[in-house]
Structures are given as C-alpha cells and as structure tokens.
C-alpha cells in the first residue's frame, strides 16, 4: 500500500532517528516528529499533497490553515489512525506505519471533536483510559491524582463526564492523554468552541506542558493564540505547506510591518516629521488619540524605536506594540481556497 518514498533508515540509523536531528548551537536536538513528503488521498481526492515537517523535541509547533487544508489528515497520520498514506511519518523516531503500537505509547492525541462516555464519572473515565494505556495498577491512583491536579480537575473528579462544560471536557481530554506521560502531544484544535476564560486557561495549561518539555503539535483557528504559544508555526493550504518557521521569520518573509501605537503629551509641531525620518520607520499616521507607527522590524526594533522617540524628546504616555498580526500573515499567505 503506502509505497513510502523514503525509508525510515534514510533518516535514522537508530530507532530514535537522531541522525535526522537538526543541529542548534552545536547541540543535536532529536526530532520528535519527522514528516517527509506526506500524501493522503481519499479516493481521487488528495487531501495532503507532500507536506514535510521537522519538529524537534520540546518544541510547540502551530499548524494553521483554513478548513479542509489537510491539518486533521496530518494529525490522523501521526495518531496512527490513517491507514493509507504515502511518504514517511516518524514520531520519536518510530515509524507510524510499521511501529504503530509503539507510536501510541509515546504519543497522546486529542481529536478536534471528541465525545465522552456519558455513563462514567471523570475519575472512572481516567481509570478507564489508564487501563487502556496499560498503566501498572499500583501507579494508577498516583498518576491520575497528578493529572487531575495538573489540569485543575480534582474538584470535578466524581462528577459525571456528561455534565461537564466544554472547557472541562477539553481539560479532561488533556488529562487523558497525559496519563501515560507521552513525549508528543497532538492537539487538534483544542480551543475550538471554548469561551474566552476557558481558552485562556487552556493556553496556560499548554504553557505548563511546554515547560515540562513536551513536544506539542497544535492546530487552531485562533491565530493570535498560536503566536503567543508556539515556537514555530506552519501554514497549510489545500494540502500544501505554504510557509513554516518562527513567527518572526514568517513576518520577515512576508515583509509584514510591525505596528506600534504611541500617545505623546504635547508633541512639538515638527515631531511627526522627525519621527518619519527615523531609519526603519515606514509611515506615521495620526489617529484621534494616538499615532500609529509602522516600522520595518529588521531595520528598527521596537526597543530602538522607543529609544529614538525618547531622544527626540517625546513625552510618551503610551507605547504599545501591536500583537503579532497573524491574521495579516495568514491572509497574505493563503488565497482563501478550501477543499
């Protein structure tokens, strides 16, 4: 079936695929996820058209793309739930195709939609999956207590799963995939459908997991959220990777201007002209209560702009760099085509 274009051996002489690891600061960082020329077809329709991806251990990689771009298909491949695909997919150096059982031991998957067993309490639900993950009986109670504490679900342990709010259900799903302490977490739109509070709580939880050294592959439609959380992002459209790299790399690549909002007390008449002449500033626009300064971040950093304004004797009452304008990047990179 899957005539893998690349054999696992091409990337790793050992099962851990260290040879495919990128070198950063003279240190080899082993890859948690390695995808090469991944292609997924449903009948005649090709959902994923040759995506390649390297995610080192401990990285949080954001997967962005419109509906039908091929994100969930990629997740399903890595979660061993897509039996037919072409290309290579390794999770912690383990081939998804030939070592699916082992992959499940090192990976935790939260699908974009998930139901819960209505007849179980949260505690029973976690015990159910602890048994399914084949955790030793002696360790189960301790592990379940730990994940309940981590996800702040202890007070809901004896509540029926069916009665939990969506945010709580998402936390429970995260608790479930943490039971066997996986190295890689695959989270397919974990924040979708959550209210702002639940979304912020989820983000904090993911940050905690990142600090624990987990490798996280996360997809989301809330782009600003990904920019705050992810070390790198990949933008996919129509089954192809349009761009990938750090958020700053993508801005640079797209020549997206950084916008800084400033409010100046009693500005001099020629101040706007002088600011305009600062190297790296593209435009200065006067708004009702503030100035909107657009700058080339590769020429002038936000800190340098602040310094330059102070040197121009501007009395700043507000200096607010705009959050990463991911929407602009996304719109620029994609053409709005969906499958």
């Amino acid at each position: 079936m899957q005539a893998s274009s690349n054999s696992p051996d091409a990337f790793a002489s050992t099962p851990n695929a260290n040879s495919s690891a990128p070198v950063a600061n003279g240190k080899i960082t082993p890859l948690a996820i390695c995808i090469r020329d991944l292609r997924v077809s449903y009948g005649k329709f090709e959902a994923v058209k040759g995506i390649s991806l390297d995610i080192p251990q401990g990285e949080v990689f954001g997967f962005i793309g419109p509906n039908g771009a091929g994100k969930s298909s990629t997740f399903r491949v890595l979660a061993t739930l897509q039996p037919k695909f072409r290309g290579l997919a390794l999770v912690c150096g383990l081939d998804v195709l030939s070592q699916a059982q082992k992959v499940r031991d090192v990976m935790g998957f939260v699908p974009d939609f998930f139901g819960v067993y209505e007849d179980l309490t949260a505690l029973e639900y976690l015990h159910f999956f602890a048994a399914a993950y084949k955790l030793p009986v002696s360790k189960r109670k301790g592990t379940i207590d730990d994940v309940l504490t981590l996800t702040d679900m202890t007070h809901k342990a004896n509540s029926p799963v069916d009665g939990l709010s969506r945010g709580m259900k998402q936390r429970l799903a995260l608790a479930r995939v943490l039971l066997h302490d996986p190295q890689v977490l695959l989270l397919d739109e974990p924040s979708s459908g959550l209210d702002p509070r639940a979304r912020i709580e989820m983000r904090e939880l993911l940050k905690a997991l990142r600090e624990m050294g987990k490798t996280i592959l996360i997809s989301s439609h809330i782009l600003s959220e990904l920019s705050q959380l992810c070390t790198r992002i990949g933008i996919v459209e129509l089954g192809k990777m349009v761009a990938q790299g750090s958020v700053n790399d993508i801005y640079r690549q797209l020549q997206v201007r950084r916008v800084v909002h400033v409010r100046i007390e009693n500005p001099a008449a020629d101040l706007m002209e002088r600011v305009q002449r600062i190297a790296g500033v593209e435009t200065v626009e006067k708004q009702v209560d503030r100035w909107e300064i657009r700058l080339h971040e590769d020429q002038l950093s936000v800190g340098d702009l602040h310094q330059a304004l102070v040197e121009e004797k501007a009395r700043l009452t507000m200096f607010q760099p705009e959050a990463m304008d991911m929407e602009t990047a996304f719109m620029k990179l994609t053409e709005g085509k969906t499958a």
Binding site: G43, G70, Q82, Q101, F114
Partner: protein, 687 residues
C-alpha cells in the same frame, strides 16, 4: 401558470426526494428489492401454475385452455406477498424520517422555519411513501399479466390497489410515530418492527379464533378476497364475519347492477378503520414531534432501570429506614477497561439490571412451560417449539443489536478515536466488547434452556429411568443436555460475531443494526424458504414444500414411481430405502445450511426416542428415525456451526484494524474496504 401556483411547494418533501435520488444506495436497494420481490413473485407464480397443472390434469393427458381463468388463483397467492413486503419494508424506510434530523441536530432549524409541525410530519410521511409505492409499482406488470389470464374481477384489482395504499399509510404512520418518539434511528427501527410484529401476530392469533378484527388493510383484503376465491381450492372457509362481508359485497354488486364504483366504495368504507388508525398515529406523531425533539440519546432502558432504582431506594428508606443487605460497590477497571464498561455501566451489562431482564423473560416462559408440562397430553407439543423460536428471535434481535452497535455507538458518540489512539490493539478492543456481552448471553440462554428442559421432561419419564437404571436413555438425556448447551452457546456467539462484523463498517448505529438484522433475517427467511426438507413420502409435496425442493421431489417421484411399470415389491422397498436415504441427506444438508439447523438437529435426538406425533414436515423428521443418525447429524451440524462461528470471529478480528481505519503492527492495509471507508471520511469532512 396560475394552476401551478395552486400546487404547494412542499420544500421538505422536495429535499427528501432529492437526497434520496442523490444516494447511490437508493438505486442499489431498489434494484435488489425489485429482484427479490420479482423472484418471489415468479417462484409463487410457477408454484401455482404447477398446482393448477396437477389438479387440472391428474391423468396426465393434455387439457387445452387449462390456464384460462387461472389469474384468480395466482392473484390470491401473489397479493399477500405484496402486503407482507409492505409490512417488512415500510418500517425500515420510515423509522429514520425524524430521528435522522435529531441525530444531525437539524430538527431545530426546521422548527424555526415557517413549516408547521403538521406540515413537517405530512411531508416526512409522503417522502417515505413515495419509495415504497415505487417498489410496489415494480410488481404491477406482473399483476397486469395475471389480470390478463382472467379470473380477477376489476373490483378485486382496484380494491387491492387501494388496500395496498392503505397498508403503506398504516405502517408508515406507525413507523413515523416511533421516529418522533425515539431519539435514535436504531431505537426507532427496533421499536417499529416490534410494533408491526405484534400487530401481525395479534391479527394472526385472532384469525385462528375466527374473530377477525378489521384493523389492518391486509385483514380487509383477507376477509374480502383471501379465502373466498372460487378458484382457490387450497384455502378453507374463513368464518362467519368473512362470509357476511363477502355476501354483502355480492348483494351490493347485484343490487347496483354490477356497478364497479359501488363495489369499490364498499371496500373503501371497509378500510376506514385502518385509515382512522393511521390518522390517529399521525396526530400522535405531530404531538410528540416537538415534545420529544430534543430528548437525550441515552439508553431508554438504563433510564427506566435508574428510575426503578430510585423508587426502590425510596421505598426501602421509608419502610426499613434504609437497611441495605448487599451493598453495590463501584469497581474501577483493572485490566480490561472496555469489557469493564460494558459490564458495569450498561443497562444490559450490570448484574442487577440483568437480573430484572431475566425475571421479565423467564417468568412467562416458566409459566408456559409448567402449564404445558402439566396439562399437555402429548409428549411433543409444537407450541413449545413456537415459544422456543420466539425466544430465539428475541435473543437474536437483542444480541444482534448490541453486537452490531458496539463500534458504531462509539463512532456516533465520537469516543472511538480516543479509544483507537490508545495502545490497545483492535483485536483487544473487539474481544473485550464481545466479552462484555457474556453476562447478557447467559441471561438470554436461561429461558431457552428452560424450554429445552421442558421438552426433555415431556419426552422422558425420569422416575421410570431412575428406577430401571436405563443407561442408554440416561446417556441420551445427557447427550441432549450437552448438545443443547453447546448449541445455545455456539449460536449466540455466531449471531454476535456475525453482527459485530456487519457493524464494524457502519458509520451510524441505525445502519449497523439494519445491516446485521437484514443479514440475519435474509439468512433465516431465505433458508426457511429454500431449505425446507418437507414431508417424507411425496404424496402431497408441492403445497407444503419449498419450491425448489418441491420440484426436486417431483422429479424423484417421476423417476421412481412410474405408473407404466409392473408392481415389484422388492424394487419398491429398494426404492423406498433410497428415497429415505436421500430425504435424510437432504434434511441434514438443510439443517447444516439453516441458522436454526442446530436447534432442529437437537430435536431429532428427542424425536428418535419417540417419533410418534412428530410432523412429517418437521426438518428433523427424516433423520430422526434412527438414533445413531440423529446423533450423527446433530454433532455434524454443531461442528459446522462451531466452524462458522470460528470463521466469523477470525474474520472480524482480522478485518478489525482495516474496518476501524487504524494501523496495527504487521497488518497490511491493502483492502478495497479501506477505499470505501475513506470515501465515507471525505463525506464527513475529516481532513
């Protein structure tokens, strides 16, 4: 243009019909349905022609025009098949009409449109009547041909068409009511068939007692035409009410000078009760459409049991102050989580709930068995066999429903992906799911074994056996007991594994239940139709035999008993022995191929002890004349069924990773089934 404006737009009906026409399945089902209906009609046609041929020509000479006017006989044999087709197909067609909207969460959007609830109900009803009527249209050319043979009155033809329409509306309204009441298509499907089955059984039972309640259009047709055709020599007189109706029909037609419309109007007026009943069901459906639009999809049985629990707990608190002798304890899964959930959290898994199910099933069975054992004068009572098959039908339906939905219910509730991403292999998941059904199987086997025990006690005098210490009889009893236990175990597992296999592919519970029950139903009905060994001796074979064996035996009799030959006693004995061997072999083959074959084969062990009173048309009669043959056949049939069960189990477990769309180590994924499932994924937008 102005006339067109008068036609209502009917957007829901239009949408339903467009959806129906866009589905490839519609055409496949229609084609398969047409083939089945036309095959049955043709077989019936040839069978009747054969009878006419025999009765019109007993001497063997050529009788010209012998088929003239034979349309009436063929017609009265064909039309019941059409009515039965409606009874069989209509619930399946309509049970999902409203539940599908509930499952897709689209019913609310319909409510906020300007469509009134009654309009929704009527358009849904019409949308399911259209495909059923197109099915019936397929048989009209055959009816036209039969009409051309003569013997079918125009009144009969037109009234039959009208009553067929009424039959469709009647059963459609029942199915629609179930669809509005239940939250899932699977529940509505099961309930529709239970209600339809009860109505059919009730009218049959009333028919035996010549009571004839004029409820269903089929009853009306039966009263008016079923047994009164002057050509129908095989149907007996049906009772005073039927005669009265027939006479009224005849008198009215005579009084009206044979006016067609008068006679038709009389028949139409006779169908009013069924139409009123249909109207009542439609009104009830309208009543429940909104009230039960957003009911929880959790198990109805589980909710009933929980309410019963609450009632008894309150009663206990009030009467004893809350004394509890045996406390329930909530265990947690140690090793087999899937089996644990099936056993401790499901309505048909928890020991306490299963005990209640056992009481509900075993109580009436025990009562009937005790009554039969006490009052029956015969050692062999066919009524107990009917009860046995009824119990098996209930058992098969419950097990099939549970086994077929064990994966699709996870799919519907979106819990499957989480389960599949755990390190449990697909084999483990399926095996644990089946293991979770073991308790239910034990509970369901108890009434069945009770009936077998009663049959055993009726055949043997235990006191006499103990006194005389007859080891041979004791051995037979023990052997029968062992075979019955093994057969029950095997048959239940066979049903479970077959249903599980059918349910693995289905994306919804309704489809998996329908697929499993259809396969089982086709196997049972098809084999009962085609593989009935029939009466030994061929004296009057055709009317009692299935068509293929009827024709087969006809050939034997023509080959072996030739009137032109002189009478030779030795030749006749040899001939008789040969026929006996052949019949026994054919009966054994029938038992091997039938799903209920092992039950029949076991009955042969009892029958071999006392053959008197056993019907010659019983499938096990032929090989019951020798105990050794009976034992051999029953062992063979059991072995064959065990082999089939093992094959189905192996097939299910082998195909499980592919059908679950999952990678398991070392399993190649080249399968057209995957392509098929992938297409389903596209339609679900999982990418």
């Amino acid at each position: 243009m102005s006339l067109l404006r008068l036609i209502p737009e009917l957007p829901l009906l239009r949408r339903e019909l467009i959806e129906l026409s866009n589905r490839r399945r519609t055409y496949i089902v229609r084609f398969a349905g047409a083939i089945i209906i036309l095959s049955i009609v043709m077989v019936q046609y040839f069978r009747v022609m054969q009878v006419i041929s025999q009765t019109a020509n007993p001497g063997g000479g050529w009788v010209p025009n012998k088929f003239n006017g034979s349309g009436g006989v063929i017609f009265s044999a064909l039309v019941p098949m059409l009515f039965h087709s409606v009874q069989l197909l209509m619930p399946a067609l309509i049970c999902g009409a409203v539940t599908i909207e509930k499952e897709r969460n689209t019913l609310g959007t319909l409510f906020v449109t300007r469509l009134s609830p009654m309009t929704i109900i009527l358009e849904k009803l019409a949308s399911r009547l259209v495909p059923m009527l197109t099915f019936l249209l397929l048989t009209f050319p055959v009816l036209a041909f039969v009409y051309s043979l003569g013997g079918v009155d125009t009144t009969v033809l037109l009234s039959t068409l009208w009553l067929l329409l009424c039959e469709c509306v009647f059963y459609a309204s029942i199915g629609l009511l179930c669809s509005t009441w239940f939250s899932t298509t699977a529940s509505a499907f099961i309930c529709s068939y239970i209600v339809v089955g009860m109505i059919v059984m009730f009218t049959q039972i009333m028919g035996f007692g010549y009571l004839y309640p004029v409820v269903t259009p089929f009853d009306v047709w039966n009263f008016a035409f079923g047994g009164m055709s002057e050509y129908n020599v095989y149907m007996s007189n049906r009772g005073w009410l039927q005669q009265m109706l027939f006479e009224a029909l005849r008198e009215s037609s005579a009084a009206a000078g044979g006016q067609l419309m008068t006679r038709v109007m009389l028949l139409i007026s006779m169908s009013v009760p069924s139409l009123m009943a249909s109207g009542f069901f439609v009104l009830l459906a309208r009543f429940f459409l909104i009230r039960r639009a957003f009911v929880s999809s959790s198990s109805v049985l589980l909710r009933v049991f929980k309410r019963v629990d609450t009632f008894f707990t309150k009663l206990n608190d009030n009467t004893t102050g809350g004394v509890v002798l045996i406390k329930d304890y909530d265990s947690l899964p140690a090793f087999d989580p899937v089996a644990w959930r099936e056993r401790s959290k499901k309505s048909l898994g928890k020991a306490r709930y299963l005990f209640r199910v056992l009481i509900v099933l075993e109580g009436p069975v025990l009562f009937i068995c005790l009554a039969t054992a006490t009052f029956s004068m015969s050692a062999d009572f066919d009524g107990l066999r009917v009860l046995l098959f009824l119990m098996w039908a209930i058992t098969a339906m419950i097990l099939s429903m549970k086994a077929s939905t064990m994966i699709s219910s996870e799919r519907t509730r979106e819990t499957l992906e989480a389960l599949l991403s755990t390190p449990m292999s697909s084999r483990e998941i399926i095996s644990q799911k089946v293991a979770g059904l073991h308790r239910l199987m034990i509970v369901l086997s108890i009434p069945i074994l009770t009936i077998h025990l009663t049959l055993l006690l009726m055949h043997f005098d235990i006191v006499q056996i103990v006194r005389s210490l007859s080891l041979s009889t004791l051995g037979t009893i023990l052997f029968y007991g062992a075979m019955v236990a093994a057969t029950t175990y095997t048959s239940m597992h066979l049903i479970v594994w077959l249903s599980a296999l059918m349910g693995l592919r289905s994306p919804t519970q309704a489809r998996s239940v329908m697929a499993a029950i259809t396969v089982l139903g086709v196997w049972v009905a098809g084999s009962a139709f085609l593989l009935t060994p029939g009466e030994f001796g061929y004296s009057f074979g055709v009317s009692t035999l299935s068509p293929f064996f009827g024709i087969q035996e006809q050939r034997f009799s023509e080959n072996f008993i030739l009137p032109s030959q002189g009478w030779d006693p030795r030749a006749e004995i040899e001939q008789q022995e040969k026929i006996e061997r052949l019949t026994a072999t054919m009966s054994s083959v029938c038992c091997l191929m039938r799903p209920d074959g092992s039950i029949w084969a076991n009955e042969s062990i009892l029958a071999s002890n006392r053959l008197a009173g056993i019907s010659k048309t019983a499938p096990f009669y032929a090989f019951s004349r020798l105990r050794s043959t009976a034992v051999l056949v029953s062992v063979l049939v059991l072995a064959w069924h065990i082999l089939m069960m093992v094959c189905f189990r192996g097939l299910t477990l082998t195909l499980a990773p592919r059908l679950l769309q999952r990678l398991d180590d070392g399993i190649p994924m080249n399968s057209p089934l995957i392509e098929k499932s992938s297409a389903t994924l596209i339609s679900e937008g999982a990418m």
